[in-house]
Amino acid sequence: MTEAAFSQPASKASLSEQVLDKLLSGRGIWPAVPAIIVLSVVAVIPFVILLSLGFSDIVVSRGAIVSQTFSLSHLTNALTDPLYWTTFQRSLTLAINTTVLCLLFGYPVAYLFLIGGKWTRRLILILTIAPLLTSGIVRTYAWLVILGGRGVVNSTLMSLGLIDQPLRIMNTHWAVLIGMVQIHLPVMILPLIAVMSRHEGGLFEASANLGASRLGTLRTVILPLSAPGIGTGAALVFTLSYTTFVVPQLLGGGNYLNAATMIYEQVVFSLEWSKGSVSSLILMVTCLIVLVVIAMITNLFTRWTKGRDA
């Protein structure tokens, strides 16, 4: 028998390889440490600072913070300012409307994906993912073109003789809503597809086999099972539309103030950083509350349907 290969030592690894091996073989947290450091420094700490700024009076000089003293005034001012209330309420309404409309328009697409063949599915995926790879500005600009004075809508309506003067669609909250819905549609559709495809095949055929109509299958089987997808999609769309900046800015005109544009204005233009900080904090807290509500509703719905069939 030839010399056992195992008696041959493994090839000599370089020093750096040996060090790397030590760090990796322990199955410890080492590989993640650089990321943890970067995330703490660039996200966690700044966030804490943001918090602190909201609760202090600061003096800014030449782009740097010179002094900082504790104060609750910004918070109380914000909470008692009617402008804040209307602005946030507008953002909230817009976000909720967007979410609901995205759901109403997006769910049928997911359903089509479910019952569709290979090419239908491919087409849906391309149409849904491609917009996500372009920037928000590009997508919003398209609506500027469509809804503008000489845009698609008006030109078509005028050439058809239905109106004499261009409709003023731009710079209204309708324009913002339409733009928001179309732009965030993919974000609602993708999680729905992901969740639905996990359940596909047998379950739906079984239901049809048992005599349920297509509509019935949809109502009693597909809908409850896709609840987690609805929850995820709704959460994502809500967060994005609640905090979106571009669409209201471009489609809503200069006087349209929502939370994000207000923060932008406070931080970049009027340099009222403490105000900007408080606004950001309120934005985050309210967003979190709604997300929790969505999660609870989804949970309830899932449990209700599960319990009902038991």
Partner: protein, 272 residues
């Protein structure tokens, strides 16, 4: 199909028909704006109007002649590449630690990485700007890159994680049994098998680095305006089809990226 129609009731047909109608309408809604924009980008007239007249590529040429636009595109390209690089270098080892790690905080680590992503982009941007002001770090291309990285790294980590979880752990065990060190096993077995997921993650992180506005708008320096910021200004002050041409370029790049991903990984995998 016919058989299905025969056995279905009228209410059934109407109901499903309505749903399918809405689905098709939504799909058209998704694509119509892009199509219109591309049509307009060929318009010969110097203002935006529909329907477009004539056909010219002059706006596309002008895109690459305007120095600020070109400069912004280069900046965005650089930011995109930096973000992708950082996400790979920081994110892949993190995914490895989350999935293969034997310490107590693996779930906590996963959640920790996700946190910056859950925060609205503008809030993160504002926070970074303020923190920078406190320590004297002013907005720059680096600040942009690092803040967007922190924002989007969760996507890379999650993509790699889900591929890693489905990778048979006995593959790495077999490699070690055959004589490989941990590092060798990672290099020769794990990494090559993770490559599709890393590429998919890279596409999304690059796109975010390139297209992000919410974080970049607060962290970009005066001299490094990324394309989205530049476009924002342009849109508000220009009325020529120039912006449509820029959009056309972006749409084309998006389609190319999609084709690349679908050929390497397959579109369905991306959606997980």
């Amino acid at each position: 199909m016919i058989k299905a129609l025969r056995t279905a009731s009228l209410g059934d047909i109407l109901g499903i028909g309505l749903i399918l109608f809405v689905a098709v309408f939504s799909l058209l809604l998704l694509i119509a704006p892009s199509v219109i924009v591309i049509l307009i980008s060929f318009d010969t007239r110097a203002f935006v109007s529909f329907p477009p007249e004539g056909f010219t590529l002059r706006w596309y040429a002008e895109v690459f002649e305007q120095t600020e636009l070109v400069g912004a595109m280069w900046t965005s390209l650089k930011v995109g590449l930096m973000v992708t690089f950082l996400c790979i270098v920081l994110g892949v080892p993190t995914a490895l630690a989350c999935v293969r790690g034997k310490f107590r905080g693996t779930t906590a680590l996963s959640v920790f990485v996700l946190v910056p992503h859950m925060v609205p982009g503008i809030v993160l941007g504002v926070a970074v700007l303020f923190a920078g002001a406190l320590v004297g770090v002013s907005p720059s291309i680096w600040l942009q890159a690092i803040s967007i990285t922190v924002f989007i790294i969760a996507v890379m980590v999650r993509t790699v994680q889900s591929r890693l979880v489905r990778l048979d752990p006995s593959l790495e065990e077999a490699a070690t049994n055959l004589g490989a060190t941990s590092f060798q096993s990672l290099r020769t077995i794990t990494f090559p098998l993770l490559l599709p997921a890393i590429l998919a993650g890279a596409v999304f992180t690059f796109v975010e680095g390139f297209d992000n506005l919410s974080v970049a708008i607060f962290t970009h320096g005066f001299r490094d305006r990324p394309l989205p910021v530049e476009l924002l200004a342009l849109v508000q002050y220009t009325s020529s089809p120039l912006v449509a041409a820029v959009s056309g370029v972006q749409i084309l790049l998006a389609i190319l990226a999609l084709v690349a991903v679908s050929m390497s990984v397959g579109l369905d995998k991306v959606n997980e």
